[in-house]
């Protein structure tokens, strides 16, 4: 059963105020084409979840689409520096930053994948994060009486994951580091795959040991070559430095809109429904 969908159609299924888990990590394999289309469709109130985000979170903050960000770290890496749009959005009160240890995002997603309301976290013992955030609470372990910190589970409505290879049914293969993507695919209510390449049933069969996300977990497959750019996509392309640097310097809403518009041709290249194997 083919689950192929156009980028536009797939993004249309995302309701405002949705909780979205975004795949990849910092400058790597972020589902940028999908993120840009979220901005184009002027989604609002999105709740973003990721251990360590960069351009994806920064762009959606710049577009005004975000209500909250649950993450352990939001920043471009050293050479690119800090995420100006995210910082501004948080500092002006537009966006609420729910700071986690990266691990507590993982724990909260593990909680969702097992459908439990919280997960215990042994490492979170000290500091103001526990005090200031209502998603952490310290309770008494009923077995030993010792204090234990719990993190409230985060239940993503949708996980959006960019991969190198996927068949039409949704069997998805991530080359290189998987980051939290596999976990996200198990934690989210729906899974949308954007993929560099649609591979044939024969090809996927030859590589079945490498399938990270089996088809039956996947709701939609979107064919977007270059869909992680300007972040990197292992075995396909490295970061695209020029647009990244450009984006960091943008100030006006209009400039951001133009930046996103400039990707339209690339992001929509498969929209004509051509079947590419």
């Amino acid at each position: 059963m083919s689950k192929l969908q156009s980028l536009k159609k797939a993004v249309e299924t995302i309701a405002d105020q949705s909780t979205l888990a975004l795949g990849g990590n910092v400058l790597h394999r972020a589902p940028m084409a999908f993120v840009r289309e979220l901005a184009r469709q002027e989604k609002s109130g999105l709740k973003l979840v990721k251990t360590a985000g960069a351009h994806d979170i920064d762009l959606l903050c710049a577009a005004g689409s975000v209500a909250t960000v649950d993450a352990g770290f939001v920043s471009y890496e050293t050479v690119y520096g800090l995420p100006p749009h995210y910082r501004k959005a948080v500092q002006t009160g537009m966006v609420k930053a729910n700071e986690h240890a990266c691990y507590t995002v993982i724990s909260a997603l593990r909680g969702a994948s097992a459908n439990v309301p919280f997960m215990p976290v042994s490492g979170l013992k000290y500091g103001d994060l526990i005090e200031h955030n209502d998603y952490f609470v310290v309770v008494e372990d009923p077995f030993t009486g010792e204090p234990v910190t719990l993190v409230r589970s985060i239940f993503p409505d949708v996980a959006v994951i960019h991969v190198q290879q996927c068949d039409e049914e949704g069997n998805a293969i991530i080359a290189g580091p998987k980051f939290e993507d596999v976990l996200m695919s198990r934690a989210a209510d729906r899974v949308i795959i954007t993929t560099e390449q649609i591979v044939s049933p024969f090809q996927i069969k030859q590589n079945k040991d490498k399938i990270d996300i089996p088809a039956f977990l996947v709701d939609a497959v979107v064919h977007v070559p270059g869909g992680a750019a300007p972040t990197s996509c292992y075995q396909k392309y490295d970061v695209d430095e020029q647009p990244l640097r450009k984006f960091l310097g943008l100030k006006e809403k209009q400039e951001v809109a133009e930046f996103i518009k400039n990707y339209e041709r690339k992001d929509y290249q498969q929209e004509r429904g051509t079947r590419v194997w």
């Binding site: 400058l27 490492g123 979170l124 013992k125 994060l129 990197s232």
Partner: protein, 239 residues
């Protein structure tokens, strides 16, 4: 006398902190510790276990990590795959020996701030966040912080916000090495090119020390190996 830069000194000093057989983790934006771990493996600590976010155990090279210390190159060059979530679990189980972490503000009591300046919910400055710090500093046996800035706004009497504290062991800066001992951040050594006065002038709390030691200079062998393993000078990325 050997010729070296401050980034070389810091990288070698970090490598010297690592012992053979230890399990050691670095995160994103961590080129300097990444190169230092690789240096230690090449010289005195061949059985050190190098762990990182993308999951490449003991990458055979770090030469491709140009702009990122969390890229696929570390997996490609790695000998097996052990990703972030499991590294955290490992630390929770008390089996991570050393974690390298960042931070923006540090105080004399060993508190780390990587979160905000100002009110948490309406911050004056939103910082990137502590990443793994809040669970790794309490659980890794030894947490090492490196920071390429050393000024009175970085080292303060009391941090704005306590992202975490715990098993902080050392903090290395362009001026000195602090050691966290008896609940206080104390001067461990100052780098050869600086003076106690300069370090004090750049530090927002009164320095604690019993004697003045100087940080060991890089050896010729270390510098030579550094040039081989880090020919593109990623160790200086933050300078």
């Amino acid at each position: 006398m050997v010729n070296y830069r401050i980034s070389d000194l810091m990288t070698c000093a970090i490598a010297d902190m690592l012992e053979d057989g230890e399990t050691v983790f670095h995160g994103v934006s961590s080129q300097m510790p990444m190169v230092a771990m690789h240096l230690a493996r090449k010289l005195h600590a061949p059985n050190l276990v190098h762990l990182n976010i993308p999951g490449g155990v003991n990458p055979g090279t770090v030469k491709q990590s140009s702009y990122s210390s969390a890229g696929a190159d570390l997996v490609e060059a790695g000998e097996s795959y052990f990703p972030l979530d499991q590294i955290f679990d490992l630390s929770m189980r008390g089996k991570l020996d050393v974690a390298f972490l960042g931070g923006v503000q540090f105080d004399v009591n060993g508190n780390v701030n990587a979160s905000v300046i100002g009110d948490y919910h309406k911050p004056k400055v939103r910082l990137p966040g502590g990443a793994g710090s809040a669970v790794l500093i309490p659980t890794a046996k030894k947490a090492i912080i490196w920071r390429t800035k050393h000024d009175p706004r970085t080292f303060v009497e009391k941090v704005n916000f306590v992202t975490t504290r715990g098993n902080l062991w050392k903090i290395i800066t362009p001026l000195c090495v602090f050691v966290f001992k008896n609940g206080k951040l104390q001067l461990d050594s100052i780098h050869p090119h600086t003076t106690l006065e300069e370090v004090q002038a750049q530090t927002g709390f009164k320095l604690i020390y019993d004697e003045i030691r100087y940080t060991k200079e890089p050896t010729a062998r270390q510098l030579q190996t550094l040039r081989q393993i880090d020919p593109y000078d990623y160790r200086s990325t933050e300078f």
